[in-house]
């Protein structure tokens, strides 16, 4: 091959150069002239986008319109599963990272021993101190989050193997490990500030602003309002075939759970022009998010708080209802927990309590004991036994029965619970109710049993709502739920049935059921209890079921109960003051088989001092004393406030 002369070689290079540059111009012409519209549209699409807008969850307010739950911006504490990059050295002065210890910092030009290796462990102690929890609790919580991230990464890796898996795992871990995992919501500004200041020394913990649910009502409303948990994202569709995921929180218990669909609202979307940092520059189009509906409860915060204060720190519940409409005026349970404390052991405890219900461990703050925790009621069942006997014809107000302290059924002496504490001698029904004689009512039920008229007792209990749903909206959505025990059958031993007549034995009931039954006793018709006064714009209509019991009969039972807090009555020593309010009540002490009692007191009072007619029930579990001694002083304290118009 003949060598190409120099000039030709350079000419060839010039030709190559010209062709290359011509190719570039051609390509540019194609992009900028012929395909310009297409690229312009893509550029427009880059700048515009849409995102779903979270709806404001509906407010929950009390009977007077005071806010009990609302959405608000706040802070939350989160942990990073992988907060640092291995082997980085950080300038102490300006925080710039270096791969190796440099002679000088490349930003602030500092030299010398000013470079520290980034913390390779999470420092739990200061954070635990800030949150006021134990270090071990925080460690467990962080570990749980880290394990969750690890599991998620493993899931994403799927069936990858070998080097590819390792490489992918490293990338995924780097990505997901640096996403903050929430460990506590609604932390105070002070805590948020401290954590933020410690960020450099303790990079694992970060503070994020959050759109959170705030419960100003505090612990006394927790069991009613319930709580939220993070759920799967919901898909928001815009109508043009595009969809986005929107992470939402859903109710886990209480009103938040049972009225989830009403409270959540409908998400909206906003289409906007934005810049590289995803900041919105111009809003192009939007569909406003519809806020959830506002829920107004029947409960008044002050009454609820005073009722909670009256009940105190014991394990129990206190329910006050409007005797005519069934509106719940106070629904207190104890022990309680703060709505924002979802950390560590307490969180587990609450969740376990929610699952276990009545089987929850002693002292555990399960959501409520007022309408879901069923206990042996004791003597507060006696008015219903009396009405059943009157209904079946096995008893009358004038009949006098001799109380010999011991009860014999067909010559067999009953022991334990079926005895009276003292010798009552001769008593009529009025007196038996007033001093709560066990022998009198056991005699009536024994008579009904012998004559095969025990079903009259069962029917009477059903009329007063035992074993049935009270109507409280947040009790249960499960149709199979049993509401206490009122399912007597022939297989039961006579002793058990007789014991049931005085609220021992087989019967278990909740304070809400008792309050409802006493409301029926007070008014002659059984109201459906309700917590929700107004759902959005719709007011809850009261419902009542007539008891079909003669007015005279009911009035005579009421008269007997009105004598209970009076001199000679079983509650006089502890709750004599209640007589001032024309209050009719009944004490009850249910032995639990141990030396501890379920102390009860229930009753009703007419309208007075601007207050509506009420019915109430208080239960204190595992008490050392009887119903009167335990509940009497508490009720006096509460009603003193209640009827003073809030002045005391």
């Amino acid at each position: 091959m003949k060598p190409i002369p120099y000039r030709q070689r350079v000419g060839l290079l010039a030709l190559l150069c010209g062709c290359s540059l011509f190719l570039l111009v051609c390509r540019l012409t194609a992009l900028q002239v012929f395909d310009h519209e297409e690229w312009l549209e893509l550029a427009d699409r880059l700048r515009s986008g849409w995102r779903p807008v979270r709806p404001m969850r509906g407010e929950i307010v009390d009977g007077k319109g005071r806010v009990l739950a609302h959405d608000a911006a706040g802070f939350e504490l989160a942990v990073l599963a992988m907060p640092w990059r291995d082997g980085r050295f950080e300038c102490e002065k300006c925080g710039t990272e270096h791969l190796h210890v440099p002679r000088r910092c490349r930003r602030c030009r500092e030299s010398g021993k000013k470079f520290v290796k980034r913390a390779d462990e999470r420092d739990m102690r200061p954070i635990a101190k800030l949150l006021d929890i134990r270090v071990r609790e925080l460690e467990a919580l962080v570990k749980k989050r880290v394990v969750a991230v690890e599991r998620h990464v493993e899931e994403l890796l799927g069936n990858l193997t070998g080097v590819k898996r390792e490489r992918q795992r490293r990338e995924l871990w780097f990505d997901h490990g640096r996403r903050p995992q929430r460990i506590r919501r609604d932390v105070s500004y002070e805590v948020a500030r401290e954590v933020a200041l410690q960020r450099r020394r303790n990079p694992a913990f970060v503070i994020r602003t959050s759109h959170g649910r705030v419960y100003p009502g505090g612990a006394v409303f927790t069991h009613i309002l319930g709580r939220l948990v993070e759920a799967e994202s919901i898909v928001v569709e815009r109508g043009d075939g595009t969809a986005r995921k929107l992470p939402v929180e859903v109710g886990r218990s209480g009103v938040e759970y049972h009225f989830e669909s009403e409270l959540r609202g409908a998400p909206g979307w906003v289409e906007m022009k934005r810049d590289l940092r995803k900041r919105t520059r111009t809003v192009l189009d939007e569909r406003r998010a519809e806020p959830g509906r506002r829920i107004r409860l029947t409960i008044e915060t002050e009454v609820q708080e005073r009722a909670a204060a009256a009940l105190g720190d014991v394990e129990g519940a206190f329910v006050v209802v409007h005797a005519e409409t069934g509106a719940v005026l106070a629904l207190v349970t104890a022990p309680r927990y703060e709505p924002h404390d979802y950390v560590g052991t307490l969180q587990k405890w609450i969740a376990r309590g929610e699952e276990m219900g009545t089987q929850a461990p002693v002292g555990s703050p399960i959501p409520e004991r007022a309408f879901r925790n069923y206990q042996i009621p004791g003597s507060i069942m006696k008015p219903f036994t009396a009405l059943a006997a009157l209904d079946s014809g096995d008893g009358s107000f004038s009949e006098v029965i001799q109380c010999e302290r011991e009860f014999r059924y067909h010559g067999i002496r009953a022991i334990g619970k079926l005895r009276c504490n003292m010798l009552h001698n001769e008593l009529n029904m009025h007196g038996a109710l007033r001093i709560s004689c066990n022998i009198y009512f056991q005699t009536l039920v024994a008579r009904m049993l012998d004559k095969g008229r025990f079903p009259a007792f069962v029917r009477m209990g059903r009329r007063f709502g035992f074993g049935q749903r009270t109507g409280i909206e947040i009790a249960s959505r499960n149709p199979d739920t049993k509401f206490g025990r009122w399912d007597f059958d022939a297989a039961r031993q006579p002793g058990t049935l007789i014991a049931s007549a005085i609220g021992q034995g087989w019967v278990v009931t909740s304070p809400a059921q008792i309050a409802r039954a006493y409301a029926g006793l007070a008014t002659g018709s059984l109201p459906r209890l309700h917590l929700i006064a107004r759902l959005g714009d719709t007011a809850t209509a009261p419902e009542r079921v007539a008891l079909r019991i003669s007015r005279d009969r009911l009035e005579r039972v009421r008269a007997a109960l009105r004598d209970v807090p009076r001199p000679g009555g079983s509650a006089y020593d502890y709750a004599g003051e209640l007589a001032r309010y024309q209050m009719a009540c009944k004490t009850g002490t249910a032995q639990r088989g141990t030396r501890k009692n379920n102390a009860w007191m229930a009753g009703f009072a007419p309208a007075r001092a601007g207050r509506p007619p009420i019915a109430f029930a208080m239960a204190v579990l595992r008490s050392d004393l009887g119903g009167g001694a335990t509940c009497g002083p508490r009720l006096v304290e509460f009603f003193r406030y209640y009827y003073s118009g809030g002045k005391q």
């Binding site: 002369p5 120099y6 570039l24 992009l31 310009h36 690229w39 880059l46």
Partner: protein, 382 residues
């Protein structure tokens, strides 16, 4: 007086004018990189670029004043110093974006690999100018060795773009010097055979994914790859193409690119500065830039033909190859004709090292132009 005269005679206008115009265009384009919307005259970027231009001017004056023959005579020394700097980078270099390419000198960072480009031009010119050995296949070993050593060090940083630029530089100089075309073609075929093994085992993940991204946006790529490409490394090419294409015929206007599509173009001050030009000045602006490059390159080639000294010719050819390939590769990758290699556009891209070295290269050509030689080369250099 003598210095002023030397400088005046050294200004070779056919080369200097397009170079200065390119610098001006680059300077204007910097307004399109500010994150804030609106035209910002003399922002931070401009001031830093001005510093680079001033330093480049100073360096160019030094290069112009020293006769190029003296530079060629001492080329091995320059080469050795540049190699030393490349070695130094590996141990004491500054790391940015997972690459160790910069050395800090008196508070100013610079890239030794940029210096090496000029040193390689001088060294190859020194080596080739009076030899015939490269006309045999075996004789090509020495110039290849001279090129591969700095290439290996640059690849170690890693800086694939600069390293790859050494190959066309060597080929152009050898071809101009009269190396046999068949030898060069054979080496190119051998290189082509090594493409797949290098892609499979010789590249880093991000380099491989850049090639994948480029392949994914080709018309014959599978549609699922195209979709995947948006979030991968093909993202850069796509955003760049959107910026270029949406510029249209006359562009969106100086400083208006931020409000248009430039927000999404990565490295728009540096590797993708041409996207800024194309977006803000449209086809008119981008064609003007290409025209300026064509002017510059053809002026250098004209000088290479006119000049009689082999070393001068080889320097011109080397600078031609540097500018030509660098500009072509950069613009081609910006408009999606080539995979992304991380290469700056001479004169336009922001970066002091790049600007200074580009101006020194122009000064070198001016140096050659200012000193006509009557020496005659042998053989093909007749």
């Amino acid at each position: 007086m003598k210095l002023g005269h030397s400088l005046r005679t050294a200004i070779h206008l056919p080369v200097v004018i397009p170079a200065l115009l390119l610098l001006l265009v680059g300077f204007l384009a910097l307004s399109g990189i500010d994150m804030r919307v609106g035209y910002r005259w003399l922002g931070d970027w401009h001031m830093r670029q001005l510093t680079g231009i001033a330093l480049g001017m100073a360096a160019a004056v030094v290069v112009v004043l020293v006769p190029y023959k003296a530079l060629v005579r001492n080329a091995y020394l320059v080469y050795g110093a540049a190699l030393l700097l490349l070695l130094l980078v590996l141990f004491a270099g500054t790391v940015r974006k997972e690459s160790r390419r910069w050395l800090s000198l008196f508070g100013v960072d610079f890239q030794p690999s940029e210096v090496m480009k000029l040193a390689l031009v001088l060294t190859l010119a020194r080596f080739i100018r009076f030899r015939d050995s490269y006309k045999t296949f075996r004789g090509l070993g020495a110039p290849f060795l001279l090129t591969l050593i700095p290439m290996a060090l640059i690849l170690k940083q890693p800086d694939l773009g600069t390293a790859l630029l050494c190959i066309p530089l060597l080929f152009t100089m050898l071809f101009a010097a009269g190396a046999r075309l068949r030898h060069l073609l054979l080496i190119m075929v051998m290189g082509a055979c090594a493409i797949y093994p290098v892609y499979r085992w010789g590249l880093r993940d991000y380099q491989r994914s850049r090639i994948d991204g480029f392949m994914a946006q080709l018309p014959f790529a599978a549609s699922d790859k195209k979709t995947k490409d948006i979030t991968g490394h093909g993202y850069q090419v796509r955003q760049s193409k959107i910026a270029v294409g949406s510029g249209g015929f006359s562009g969106v206007g100086l400083g208006e690119g931020q409000a248009a599509a430039l927000h999404w173009v990565p490295e728009r001050h540096n590797d993708f500065i041409f996207a800024v030009v194309a977006n803000e000045m449209g086809l008119l602006g981008s064609a003007f830039v290409i025209l300026l490059f064509a002017w510059l390159l053809l002026a250098i080639l004209a000088l290479a033909i006119r000049h009689r000294d082999p070393a001068g010719r080889l320097i011109c050819m080397g600078v031609f190859a540097l500018f030509g390939f660098q500009a072509f590769i950069n613009i081609a990758m910006t408009i999606g004709l080539m995979p992304i290699t991380g290469m700056t556009l001479p004169f336009l891209s922001y970066g002091r090292s790049s600007v200074i070295v580009s101006m020194m290269a122009v000064a070198l050509v001016c140096n050659v132009a200012a000193r006509p030689s009557y020496e005659f080369g042998r053989g093909d250099f007749d």
